[in-house]
Amino acid sequence: MARLMLDHLTKRFGTQAAVHDVTLDVRDGELMCLLGPSGCGKTTTLRMIGGFTAPDSGDIQIDGKSIAAMPPERRPTAMVFQRYNLWPHMSVEQNVAFGLRIRRIAHAEIERKVQDALTLVGLPQASRKFPHQLSGGEQQRVAVARALVLEPQILLLDEPFSNLDARLRVHMREEVKQLQRTVGITTVFVTHDQEEALTIADRIAVMHQGVLQQVDTPTALYAYPRTLFVADFIGTMNLIKARTHAQSGGTIVTAGPWQLAVPDRTWPDGSEATVAVRPEDLVVAPDGAAVEVRRVVNLGHYLQVLLQCPEVGELRMFTEKGAALSEGQRVHVRLARALAFHGSDLAEIGGPMRSTAAAPADRR
């Protein structure tokens, strides 16, 4: 049981900042995902926690105690890498027992702990096998067993399933989530796959170009993205270039054919803004703007509609499966809910998020 604190961590490679001033608080027993595209700094951050990369500045604390000066062998962290976890010249049993043997634990107890760990990951019969005799998924499971057998305070996982095929990936991430819940260990999980993060994380820290964009629960991340990057990165989002018009008591934002009122903001007149609209928040309504239906894709329990909007371009809309829409048809569409981004400011327009079966967060 432990709380992990990252305090203004920075790491530079050459002149580039791979990780820039990252401050993050991981709660006891939480599964925190570090999510972002390649090169965003998530793996570097994880490696700094594990002790494999030294930060240029900043601190790392577990339960208030700084570990930044400790070499990896002394840290109460355990890491599962993306590949090359298991030592090929040792059996599964020897792999898992390695850390225990270093700690000079009694022979009989080592045997018991190893067997328990292997059972926990669903491989009770594997102890005599060698890594090359196991499948990719089994190897990763043994790696998890080896990490957990040492009873670490923090579990670190670096895209452990990226190398497995899609179906196995889904299965393994569910297993890890179950395991993490059962054992209750504080976990940091790095991934570039947002579906993976949205499915298993308690909270997600989105990173982009070394900078922490937003830390929130999957639901909140989906409904209230705080930066344009997060809005675009999580789920599907329509982004519309917009202009502001100052008004008495507020601002009007003109996005394509739509005019949106932002009563609680006074943004300068004529400046640029971006309006972000979820596909499920585009609704067919008589008072909406006129757009043309380009294509209708039937995805089973909902329809994906591609709209062609003058001044804006292509927009994506999700709607119920019964809707009477056909190609070439002209419809009137309004924005039930949207987010207006102006510089570093953000305003919500319209009601709470419209829930449909399409929203991935709701699948939990």
Partner: protein
């Protein structure tokens, strides 16, 4: 504190590298420098210019012809090794039958044969009444050019000992070329020869360079093979130098020739280092 950590790794690295570096320094670099310095001191009684030794060596007709002979033999040998090894390496890479595995082992054999023995074996094979001439005699051929104790003997022996090395390095490079790249070239209609020159050779450039360079340096400076297998004149520089030192006791000329040979070999080496460094930098 972070800067201190980096230089700690640097200090450790240098410390670990020091022992073999010392050996290299004391037994190779230092003697080499001493030798060069020594050649720049003119012998007593001759005009006091630093290059007097070089002028004398290059001015001697016999020695000049030895230098030319060495260069020619080296170039011919390297070319021959290449012409034999590349097709072999390509064959081993692209043809996968049961016999190719056996073939692969076969062509590695000269690697495990000491050069002295290789030379002697070639002598018994190619000499006037050796196996080749016996077989040719049996078939009715009594006259054929001399294959031993001349340049031909040297070239054949150098080729014999060098094939495994060349096949290994070229082969390793070929392994790294994805089948897909070859297939797509053939797909757009390139024949085998064009595929080789347009796709394979450029992608295998570094191993090719390495092979050419190391082969050149090795053959150029070789002693044992020309000593046992070569004729009396002209001679390869390795033999000439040794003779001047141990037989004629003309140390100054011997060392001067060594430096000249080194400079010639270095030119080739510099080209190699330049191309490898450039590749390593782009690869990172």
């Amino acid at each position: 504190m972070r800067v201190h950590k980096i230089s700690k790794q640097g200090a450790l690295g240098l410390a670990l590298v020091l022992p073999p570096l010392l050996v290299l320094g004391l037994l190779v670099i230092l003697p080499a420098i001493t030798a060069v310095v020594e050649t720049l001191k003119p012998p007593v009684g001759i005009e006091a210019t630093p290059f007097a030794n070089y002028a004398q060596v290059l001015g001697t007709r016999i020695l000049r012809s030895d230098i030319v002979f060495t260069v020619v033999v080296t170039l011919v040998s390297v070319a021959a090794v290449f012409l034999l090894s590349y097709p072999l390496a390509l064959y081993l890479r692209f043809v996968r039958t049961r016999s190719t595995a056996l073939l692969g082992v076969l062509f590695m054999v000269p690697l495990f044969v000491p050069v002295v023995i290789a030379s002697f074996a070639m002598i018994t094979f190619l000499v006037g009444h050796g196996l080749v001439s016996t077989l040719l005699y049996r078939v009715g051929i009594e006259q054929f050019p001399r294959l031993m104790y001349n340049a031909t003997g040297i070239v054949l022996t150098e080729v014999w000992v060098s094939i495994p090395f060349a096949v290994l390095i070229l082969g390793a490079g070929l392994q790294a070329i994805d089948d897909a790249l070859i297939d797509s070239a053939r797909d757009v209609g390139a024949g085998p020869l064009r595929t080789f020159f347009a796709v394979i050779l450029p992608l295998n450039a570094t191993p090719t360079m390495i092979t050419l360079t190391l082969l050149f340096i090795a053959v150029f400076g070789s002693f044992t093979i020309p000593y046992l297998v070569g004729g009396n004149a002209p001679q390869m520089l390795g033999v000439t130098m040794t003779a001047y030192l141990t037989q004629y006791l003309r140390r100054a000329e011997s060392v001067t020739m060594a430096v000249i040979a080194f400079i010639l070999a270095s030119v080739v080496g510099v080209v190699y280092v330049a191309s490898v460094s450039r590749r390593e930098r782009t690869a990172r």
